[in-house]
Every structure is written in C-alpha cells, then in structure tokens.
Symmetry: C2
C-alpha cells in the first residue's frame, strides 16, 4: 500500500495551510496550465484519482460534468471533501490507488493532480486508467517533475554570484525518495520523463501535450517567491488520449 | 545562419579525436538506444540531417537502405565523408539546416544525431522534416538533453560526501548558451523538453518512444568515466511517426 502520509496529523495540518488547500484550484500555480489541457467538460463522466479535498470534483460539476467520482486514500481529506460537497452527482470513495480497479470504458476524463509520484506501481494504475477511459477519452495529470524528484538530497544551492541552482543527481536511478516535507519521512517515487511518457505510449495513449510548468511574469509579480521556479521544472503536466 | 563551429580548425581537430569520430557509431554510447528506435531500413529512403563524417549514411546502406542523403553545414566534415564513401546511393550535400528545403513525402526515415541543438530556428526545420517524411515515415533524432543544455555555467559540483551533482538553472529560459567545448565560444540552443515534444505533436507527429540516455552497467564497466551520466540525463532521443 502507498504511504498514506495525508492522514498523518502533522502532515495534514501543514498541507491544510498550503495555498492550494485554502484557495482551492486558484491557489495552485500550475492550475491554469492544467486547465488548458482539459477536454470540454459538459456532460463528461470524470474520475479524479487523488481527489483530496474535492476542489476539482466540484469545479468540474460547475462546468457541466455529468458525474464525478473522487478517489483518495486519505480519510481526513475525504471527510473534508464530503463536508464541503452537497451534490449527488459527485461521489467520494476511499481506495488505495495501488490496488484500485476501475470499470471499463467508463470515463471521458481521468484527472489526477500531484498524486502519481506517491505510487510504487504506477504501471498498474496507468493500465487501469487506459482500461477505464472511454475511446477518445482523455487523461490529464500532473506529477512532480523528474528533475524535481531525482535528487537524493534536494535543496537549492546558491553560487558566489547569488544565482540559484537546483542540483540534480541520481536521475537515472528510479525509486523511492524520502524527504521531510510538512512531516518527516514523506516517501515519493522518482521516475524519469522517459518512463512516464513511454508507459503511456505503450498502453496505447496518444500524447497530446506535455507541459513543464514554470511561472508567468504575472505570477511572479503577484508571488515573488515563485521566481525560483524559472530555474528548474517543478511540475510535469501531461494530456494523452485513448485511441 | 547557424554557427558553423565544425569548420573551426581547433574544434574540428578536437572533434576528430572524440571516440565517436574515431570509432564511428559504436564509439557513441547512446548509439544502441538510438538504433533500437529505427524502422526497418531495407529499401528505405533516408535523409541524415547533420551527417558529419557519414558514419550513419554508410551503416544504413549496409542495412539495405535504398538511398541515403547526408546533409551538413561543415565543409571539413563533408570532405572526410566523401573521401570515406564509395557508394553512388549515398549523396552528400552542404546546406544550412536553418534554411534547408526538403522535397515533399520523399523519405521513409529522417535521422538526425546531436544536431538540432545547434539550430536557432528548430520549428522551421521540423516543419520541413514533417513535410519531407512519407506518410508512415519516421523521425529518429537525438539532441543534448534540456537538463544538460539549461545551465548558464555548466559543470559538475561535488558535495562534501563526494557525490556529484549537475546544477540546473535557467531551465525555463530558452535560447543560446555559449560554452567552451573543444573550442571557445560554441553556441548551442537550450529548449525545454516541452518545446521539443509539443513542436512534434503540433506538426502532426505521433510520438513513439522517448529515451533519456543513461549508461548501462556494461558500458560503465568498459568505460568507468561514463558512471557520472547516471546522475543526469545527457541525451534526449525521440522517435516519432508521421501519420
């Protein structure tokens, strides 16, 4: 089973204070890029893998989605999602994405935001995603970028001229990386760009768009601390269609 | 016009001593990965963009290619290519890839090894490549990986524990990077992974396989200095088909 760090009290308290937890989708700097990859949502059947507080589920219904199924491993997150949702077309379900079985050809959109890097066995889940996507259906997902997840000891370094660098090592060594982020001992899984993209191609997805999120000038003006994200790619966003 | 650094005497002398210049395709560590991306070559019409000494052109003919056209901007490289080739089905031509026009639907394979990062305007050339590929034809190319080309001052750093890191900065800032490699003032152009892949998708290519070359255990055993290439992705290899 994937580490369920979101049900750790310290992690959950820290996560609940992040901009994306307080302000929802608009609190996530990469959301405009991810949103631009979505298909038309009117009438769409959607599953959100790692739905968290349910922000995307509720937004998708506002855009006219027919039905949205949110899945997450965290009881704490689902409890808040349920408390903030009053819409019978949105259902929440607790499940471990490592062992999840999805119905066949059931969804026009499979959405997943910053979840896949927690999984040990992404290959199995992507197989389920392909099976669950209707013909012509789309996967839109974000993960922490491989350049961001690779380092065994992540952290900015600043050179003599004050220029920030992101030191990459162990890029080719896929597997678990343990960091102290919001709580000690958070386990994420590093995979190369190659692995993400070839898994999708081999399953029969057609890649439609790849983004390596970086902040816009407007975002940096509003939030100067985002400037460092021009130095490295932080998030990888992928849109792929089932043939 | 692209900087024609290969006709610089100092650069050419240095380049001529590299393993890949002395031993040909087998002297390039990424060659086995690139070769695995090729379509069947028997009877194929091929163009090699940045053909250099013509190693690939001659090898492709040995595999049964019908005709191979090698294009390069360097007079010095083409002179050696011509001197080492006695095969009327291989033709060499000097041209600037920034302004090259290719015939329509004329090639089953467009091949390019470590050339595209010298181009200022890759978009134009890839448009020509798409136009020149026969329906079902394939592009197989390698470029220096965006993680490798990004840094404004590239160079390994070693931490207190002796671990090597590759410091990435300015990843999101595309454009020229000037380094001293074999000769001073070599200009290469940094583009993100996003840019490479989305250019191809938008032109109508279907991405078939992406590789971020890293050395195998056997390669490291034979050439221990390759071990550092496990720390960072050095080359990006792409196979894409014209629909």
């Amino acid at each position: 089973m994937t580490q369920n760090i979101y049900d750790n009290d310290e992690f959950f308290a820290g996560y609940s204070r992040l901009g994306r937890s307080v302000a929802g989708l608009d609190g996530a700097a990469e959301w405009p890029s991810l949103r631009a990859m979505l298909p038309p949502l009117r009438g769409a059947r959607i599953v959100d893998l790692g739905c968290g507080f349910g922000w995307f589920c509720r937004w998708a219904r506002e855009q006219g989605a027919a039905a949205v199924r949110g899945i997450d491993v965290s009881e704490k997150m689902l409890a808040r999602a349920r408390a903030e949702t009053a819409d019978p077309a949105i259902t929440y379900e607790r499940a471990d994405l490592e062992t999840l079985d999805l119905p066949e050809r059931a969804f026009d959109l499979v959405y997943s935001s910053l979840t896949f890097h927690y999984l040990e066995n992404l290959e199995r889940l992507l197989g389920q995603v392909h099976r669950a996507a209707a013909p012509g259906g789309r996967l839109v997902c974000s993960v922490e970028h491989p350049v961001y997840t690779a380092p065994t000891r992540p952290g900015w370094i600043t050179d003599a001229d004050g220029r920030k660098h992101w030191p990459v090592n162990c890029y080719q060594l896929e597997g678990a990386r343990t960091t102290d982020w919001l709580a000690p001992g958070v386990v994420k899984h590093h995979r190369t760009m190659t692995t993400h993209l070839n898994l999708l191609i081999e399953l029969g997805f057609a890649l439609r768009r790849i983004e390596e999120w970086g902040p816009t000038a407007e975002q940096i003006a509003a939030q100067p601390n985002l400037a460092e994200e021009r130095e490295r790619p932080m998030f990888l966003l992928i849109a792929a269609d089932r043939a």
